[in-house]
Amino acid sequence: MDFDLTKEQQQLGDSIQRFVAREYAFEKRKGILRSEEGMSREVWAHLAEMGLLALQVPEEHGGMGGAPIETMLAMNGVGRGLLLEPYLASAVVATTLLRELGSPAQQGELFPAMAAGERIVVLAHDEPGARYDLTQVSTKATRAGDGYALSGQKSVVVHAPSADLLLVSARTGSGVSLFLVPWDAKGVSLAAYRTLDGRRAADVTLSEVRAGREALVGAEGAALDVIVSVNDVAIAAACAEAVGALEALLQTTVEYSKSRKQFGVPIGTFQALQHRMVEMLIHVEQAKSMSYLASLRSDEKDLQARARVMSAAKVIVGRACRNVGQEAVQIHGGMGMTEEFHASHYFRRLAALELSFGDTEHHLEKFALNSAEAT
């Protein structure tokens, strides 16, 4: 039992943190945030150069084939730097789906381009009203000629406006299948907007979108289990991102409390605030522990055991996001409310992470149910 990183992992972690500190300073990020695309292609290319887009790429395609700890370190950095690029969506979720389900041809075509930062792929799965139920898929893919015709609605597909390809889930008979759909395919329309945390997202409408057989990812009707399973990988990554953001926000808050004066003394000398910052710290440390566990168990084969870990992690991390986010804004006072200052950006990202991949209540319930079944 040890919590130590290998030397290589340590170096990777350091280089990510260095990159974030140097290339993703808050002022630079503001520019990216305000830009039309809401992400930086230059940063994306840089992440590719560092090899970070290949962590989920199979080794035979030059990647690391999963690498839970490395992914955790990358996500810590993404969280600390509040990166706006689709790392979680494309380099983690979509890449893992393609690793699990993609044909050799699909992998051969996509992985080099994705690892090089030249192609962005995003899963379009959630539908209006599905809430956190991954099994609720109403989009249909019916046989049409040699391939399929896809029709349906996908909601809040984060980063869809930047994606080259969408991985669209759709019902085929009794099962769910995945299809690679180019963003500009006929019949695809995106209603784009910003998310709470400033990312670009879209509701995607598919009207009789033609997809050839080569667009089918995995066997027909066999995608749902994998989507559910990759959701666990996403949770582990999201927890690691949250931990990066939580640590940064706590640090920011403590520093602010040391410099900001009221009644002639730094507000950090007020015991009531001190004790609340200690509570924040406890939340962060507990979140960190569960993030370790989630990452280490993200390739666990016992799916029920894994689901328990992920739900537990999401509950602890979710509560931490809520507590630390709200307290940080409160302690920053008016400054915490502004777009100008970084605290509110962390606050929003943490709130968004809590709402992603199942919120705290959802996972608490799931854990309780899972426990009852286990006993």
Binding site: R131, R194, T195, K261, Q262, G334, M337, S344, L355
Partner: protein, 385 residues
């Protein structure tokens, strides 16, 4: 002890209700009930309609053109207005500077300002906070130097809600830099069109532009625009803080928002059933509903004491703390009720977007004396610690 209203109070409620129902413009009502952003024009239109009814200054005594309502009538008025979807009237003129002027102002000030506040001709904003002095108000630095028949004001005020719409700003400024913190402060009424004033919006995290910084560069303010004595401004500011807190808990608005939360929770579905029927979510709604109910009674206890002409005491701090916690809980639950779709801020920025509201409402525990300051006040004055 009797928590029911008197027949007179019930008749009054009925009168308010029918007035609001018949005169509140449908477009404004719709915006409020849907949680959409109100425009400055909405406030003004509604205020003018009230003015025409003789209710332009609901909390003022008759002497200054108010309807002369007691605390209970005021409470009923606010409750009925909020329930029907009327916009909240801007407090800066009506509840803040107005009472200061009619209590401490000169006859000329009363004559010039009070009718225009009542009629919604003048909009006001409040210049208290500064970058270096938020909750610690007395450390303010904006200077007003006496020169001839006026003051020359230099400095910066911040967190000023609706400064962009205001015709006037009331400001605390330092007129005697050598005096100790709370002495040496004066209370000025400043025309926002005076040369040297610059308003710069502060964008808040929900994308809103409600609040502003206001910069003063050699701004000339005639001496007749000072309220009361020079260097006695702190007294007026304290009076203002202690005044009119009937509605500080925001119970009436929270009751309306609770209904909206329930509406959202009945629209959303979980496990094939309306979310509002989910026991866990229903319990969370029940908890906030019960908290709000208790706060309503607590608020009525304070209102009832005001009716007896006992001045509201530090218990208003309690109303502020609990009231803002409930307001925040309501937006949080609306966001959680919407689930993952709350993440998306649809492009209609005026629409009700629960996640944006959740962000925006974080302000309530910060402004108007942060909840920490309120706790300090209660600790000192009620608990004697």
């Amino acid at each position: 002890m009797d928590l029911s209203f008197t027949p007179e109070e019930n008749a009054f409620r009925q009168a308010v209700r029918s007035f609001v129902q018949s005169r509140l413009p449908a477009d404004i009502q719709k915006r409020t009930l849907e949680g959409r952003k109100q425009t400055h024009d909405d406030y003004k239109r509604w205020h003018r309609l009230l003015y025409e009814q003789g209710w332009g200054a609901p909390t003022w005594p008759k002497e200054y053109g108010g309807p002369g309502w007691g605390a209970v009538e005021q409470y009923i008025f606010e409750e009925e207005s909020a329930a029907a979807g009327a916009p909240l009237l801007s407090p800066f003129g009506l509840k803040m500077v107005g009472p200061v002027i009619y209590t401490f102002g000169s006859d000329a000030q009363k004559e010039r300002f009070l009718p225009r506040i009542r009629s919604a001709e003048h909009s006001w904003c409040q210049g208290y906070s500064e970058p270096g002095s938020g909750s610690d108000l007395a450390s303010l630095k904006t200077r007003a130097e006496r020169r001839g028949d006026g003051y020359v004001v230099n400095g910066q005020k911040t967190w000023i809600t609706h400064a962009q719409y205001a015709d006037y700003i009331f400001c605390l400024v330092r007129t005697d830099p050598k005096a100790k913190q709370q002495q040496g402060i004066s209370f000025l009424l400043i025309d926002m069109k005076t040369p040297g004033i610059t308003v710069r919006p502060i964008v808040t995290m929900d994308g809103g532009k409600e609040i502003n910084e206001v910069f003063f560069e050699d701004v000339h303010v005639p001496v007749e625009n000072r309220v009361g004595e020079e260097n006695a401004g702190w007294t007026y500011a304290k009076f203002l803080l202690g005044h009119e807190r009937t509605n500080i808990a925001g119970v009436a608005v929270s009751k309306r928002e609770l209904r909206r939360l329930k509406h959202i929770a009945s629209e959303e579905r979980k496990n094939g059933k309306p979310l509002i029927e989910d026991p866990a979510f229903a319990a969370r709604i029940a908890q906030v509903e019960i908290d709000l109910w208790a706060l309503e009674i607590t608020n009525l206890r304070v209102v009832s004491a005001e009716k007896e002409k006992r001045a509201p005491g530090p218990e208003v701090s309690l109303l502020k703390i609990k009231g803002t916690e409930i307001q925040q809980a309501l937006t949080e639950l609306m966001m959680l009720a919407r689930g993952p779709s709350a993440l998306g801020l649809l492009n209609d920025a005026d629409a009700f977007r629960p996640a944006a509201a959740y962000c925006n409402l974080r302000k309530t525990s910060i402004y108007g004396g942060s909840n920490e300051i309120q706790k300090n006040i209660i600790s000192r004055t009620i608990l004697g610690l």
